[in-house]
């Protein structure tokens, strides 16, 4: 129970840091920490596999990717990046509060059901049996997705060069 609250507070603190930090690098770091604490929550809930994936992919790869990009871009000029529109602030705060409130109320309503643990077999084996016997299709889809994303990234970032090259070829 106490660990729950502790983890929650840590996660929330880092999450708030992501949003409210003025430096993007700090925000990225805070995100990394947020994701790590989520991974810890996963671990605590018994979903070990996901916890590992979370650490590996999200915390490891993605955060690094962010840092890479930040290095590519001259981040010095993009500081102090919080918006200050008052109306927007009020509107969105209200809406977000409403979302949160409704969310909380509905959850609260079903709290008995929701806090029970009904998973009989939480083992990795059972999970992977599901994955490869039933859910192989989305898994394969995910590979296609990754491939597509790869191509997309290449095309997007390489476009300028390619266009320049082709135009050059045309001129010649």
């Amino acid at each position: 129970m106490i660990s729950d609250i502790f983890l929650t507070i840590i996660t929330m603190a880092f999450a708030l840091m992501v949003v409210f930090s003025k430096k993007t690098v700090v925000a990225a770091f805070a995100l990394l920490m947020t994701l790590l604490s989520i991974a810890m929550i996963y671990f605590q809930l018994g979903t070990v596999f996901l916890s590992a994936i979370q650490v590996l992919v999200n915390a490891g790869a993605v955060a690094i990717l962010f840092v890479f990009v930040m290095m590519l871009i001259n981040l010095e000029q993009f500081q102090n990046n919080r918006e200050k529109g008052k109306a927007k602030l009020i509107i969105s705060s209200v809406t977000v509060l409403v979302i949160l409130g409704v969310f909380a109320l509905i959850i609260n309503n079903n709290i008995e059901v929701l806090t029970s643990n009904n998973i009989a077999d939480n083992s990795m084996k059972a999970l992977f049996e599901k994955l490869f016997n039933v859910y192989y299709l989305p898994f394969e889809m995910a590979t296609v997705l990754l491939l597509a994303a790869l191509v997309a990234c290449v095309v997007i970032t390489g476009q300028d060069k390619a266009v320049a090259k082709e135009e050059g070829a045309k001129h010649e």
Partner: protein
């Protein structure tokens, strides 16, 4: 055989119209064009005479040409009839018409577009014959509008002058106001009686009349409005004086002899119905009486020879209508008959004078024409005597009978009689004034200051001849022959309708003949012969006195001075009269201008701001809201997200609401 004649009667004028205006118009010279029209009318006249004799002996002839339309039992046919009523007008139209056509050959000699003139003339004759011979309302109405149209064309014959055009337009519009009533009246009659045939209406079913009293009264009043339009009665008499813008022979034929009497003709056609409604008759009677008086008053002070004659026509038409209004339809027709001759005569004389004076129309610029134009003078005198109502001439008989009938009309007889008598005296006065000023006195010398004003139209003529009256000359034979013929007719025409007291054997031949068709005069007290003699004598004396007064004022020495002093004495009356009671101005101010303004308001406000405004508002709202939305569209990235978030919130709230209030 007579049926064929009947069908052919309107055909010849139509042929003449087509020949003159369309088919061979470029190959004719003036005389040929005139001859074509004259011949067509004359042939028709012969046919009319032949048919009339048949009708006199054997009753009406009718011919049904083709079916125009049917509605239930109502048959709208092109159907001609020659009955007692049409005989008279038909004879007048073709007879007097051919005389005038003959006259016109001379009168229009020097004009341009004479072919057109004679074409329209023939068209008028054709329309008039349609009107007269129509067996039902439809054909009558066709002719009715046809004469309106040809009158419009002839009034606007010299269309180069905007004034003439306006006069023509005015005539047409006033007639159209009448037509409005006529159409509705026809419709009302047709729907009540289930027929539009005059033959049927001559013997209407009293049960129907009693059952539909209100509708019929309204319809009859509407018909009266129609008649008022065509016959130039109050409130629509204003067009007739202006109609004198046309060539004078035209005025003689249309605006004096035939066309304007169509209203009386129409009322006679439906006499058997309207005679049942005393209120309608009263309206007609008062309308006629007042018109007669008003027109006579105006005629007193006019300067234009044609205008005077025009107002006298209106006045005489008032007499006729008065006769109809007191239920003496046949008498009314009798006056139509006699009036046709003397008024045509007077107009032709005026035409002759105008021709002789090189298109000078101001009577104060004439004078002394007695010697220069003797034939014209003498024929004019005959006409003058007839219209003034001197015993022995045709006008006397008809006028006297009307007055008698008015006097004996139950209810308001005395008043109508009084008005009629005053009008008769006024008529005698202004006719004498005219006769004197035109023919007898020497031309006045001092009205040079009026010279500019005198130049009315055809300035070129005036320029050449200086003072028109000074160089006047007698008209050629082609013009004087009709004058003489008409003068004879004017003198003797009255003898076919002698009053009872004068001749027991030959009394009221005309009236009895007409009363075969029209409603008989009813409910009038019978006057003793003595009373009638007294009345006649009194009337004649008074008329002679009135003539004498006029002669005294206008012929005696210093008449100018005297006139001026009289003018000063009756200044108000004189002004009102010379300004024609400002009726034109009143209409202009009270009806036309407001209506035009209203049209302007409709265009400027209703059309522009209400109807188009509605559309503009719709457009503006659409494009305005579009602009507004476009300016506030979620262009920025975060706005798009904000919209999504708001959407999400709303969805959640809605569902949560449902969840709470389930």
């Amino acid at each position: 055989m007579y049926e064929n004649y009947l069908a052919l009667i309107p055909f010849f004028p139509l042929l003449a119209f087509l020949l003159n205006s369309i088919l061979i118009k470029n190959k004719l010279n003036n005389v040929q064009a005139g001859l074509i029209t004259f011949m067509s009318l004359f042939i028709s006249f012969i046919l009319v005479v032949m048919t009339s004799i048949h009708v006199l002996n054997n009753g009406p002839v009718s011919v049904r040409l083709w079916e125009w339309m049917t509605y239930g039992n109502i048959k709208f046919d092109i159907h001609f009839i020659m009955d007692e009523l049409s005989v008279i007008l038909s004879l007048m139209v073709t007879g007097i018409g051919s005389a005038i056509a003959f006259f016109s050959i001379g009168y229009m000699d020097h004009e341009e577009k004479v072919g057109k003139f004679f074409g329209f003339f023939a068209l008028f004759a054709f329309s008039m014959l349609l009107l007269v011979h129509g067996e039902n309302f439809l054909v009558l109405f066709m002719g009715w509008e046809g004469v309106g149209l040809s009158s419009y064309l002839l009034i606007g014959f010299w269309y180069e002058h905007t004034k003439n055009g306006n006069a023509a337009k005015k005539a047409f519009l006033a007639n159209r106001v009448g037509d409005f009533g006529l159409v509705l009246g026809i419709v009302g009659y047709a729907l009540v009686f289930n027929t539009i045939s005059f033959t049927d209406l001559a013997h209407p079913d009293m049960a129907i009349i009693m059952a539909n009293k209100e509708v019929l009264i309204i319809s009859s009043l509407l018909l009266v409005l129609g008649a008022a339009g065509k016959s130039a009665q109050i409130p629509l008499f204003i067009w007739l004086p202006d109609a004198m813008m046309g060539p004078t022979p035209v005025s003689a034929l249309m605006h004096a002899a035939t066309m304007v009497t169509a209203g009386i003709f129409l009322l006679c056609r439906v006499s058997n119905v309207i005679v049942n409604f005393s209120i309608v008759l009263d309206v007609i009677a008062w309308m006629g009486a007042l018109t007669a008086l008003l027109a006579a008053l105006i005629a007193m002070t006019q300067r234009d020879i044609k205008k005077i004659l025009a107002y006298s026509t209106v006045s005489q038409l008032g007499y006729m209508v008065l006769a109809v209004g007191v239920g003496a339809f046949s008498t009314g027709m009798f006056h139509v008959f006699t009036h046709a001759f003397f008024k045509a005569l007077l107009f032709l004389c005026a035409a002759s004078v105008i021709y002789g004076c090189h298109h000078e129309q101001d009577i104060f610029k004439m004078g002394g024409l007695k010697k220069k134009m003797p034939i014209t003078f003498w024929t004019f005198t005959v006409g003058f005597l007839a219209i003034a109502g001197i015993p022995g001439f045709s006008g006397f008989f008809s006028k006297d009978e009307i007055l008698t009938m008015a006097l004996t009309n139950p209810g308001n007889g005395v008043w109508l009689y009084a008005i009629g008598l005053i009008t008769a005296l006024l008529t005698a006065f202004y006719m004498t004034r005219m006769l004197v000023l035109v023919f007898i006195v020497e031309p006045a010398k001092e009205d040079k200051h009026d010279h500019g004003h005198a130049k009315k139209k055809h300035d070129d003529h005036d320029d050449h001849h200086g003072h028109g009256a000074l160089t006047a000359h007698e008209s050629p034979g082609v013009m004087t022959i009709p004058l003489v013929l008409l003068a004879i007719c004017s003198a003797v025409a009255g003898y076919i309708g002698l009053p009872h007291v004068l001749s027991h054997e030959h009394s009221r031949i005309f009236q009895d003949f007409v009363e075969r068709f029209v409603a008989k005069t009813q409910g009038h007290a019978h006057l003793s012969a003595q009373t009638e003699y007294i009345l006649m004598g009194m009337t004649t004396t008074l008329i002679l006195a009135s003539m004498g007064l006029a002669y005294y004022i206008y012929v005696k020495n210093d008449h100018v001075k005297m006139r001026d002093s009289l003018k000063a004495k009756f200044k108000t009356l004189w002004t009102i009269s010379s300004e024609k009671f400002k009726v034109d101005e009143f209409y202009e101010l009270a009806i036309i201008k407001p209506l035009y303004k209203f049209g302007g308001v409709l265009v400027d406000i209703v059309e522009a701001h209400v109807i188009n405004g509605f559309i503009k508002v719709v457009t503006k709202v659409t494009s305005g809201s579009g602009e507004y939305l476009d300016n506030n569209k979620p262009e920025r990235l975060e706005m798009g997200i904000l919209y999504i978030v708001i959407g999400l919130t709303l969805v959640l709230v809605a569902i949560f609401n449902a969840f709470i209030f389930r």
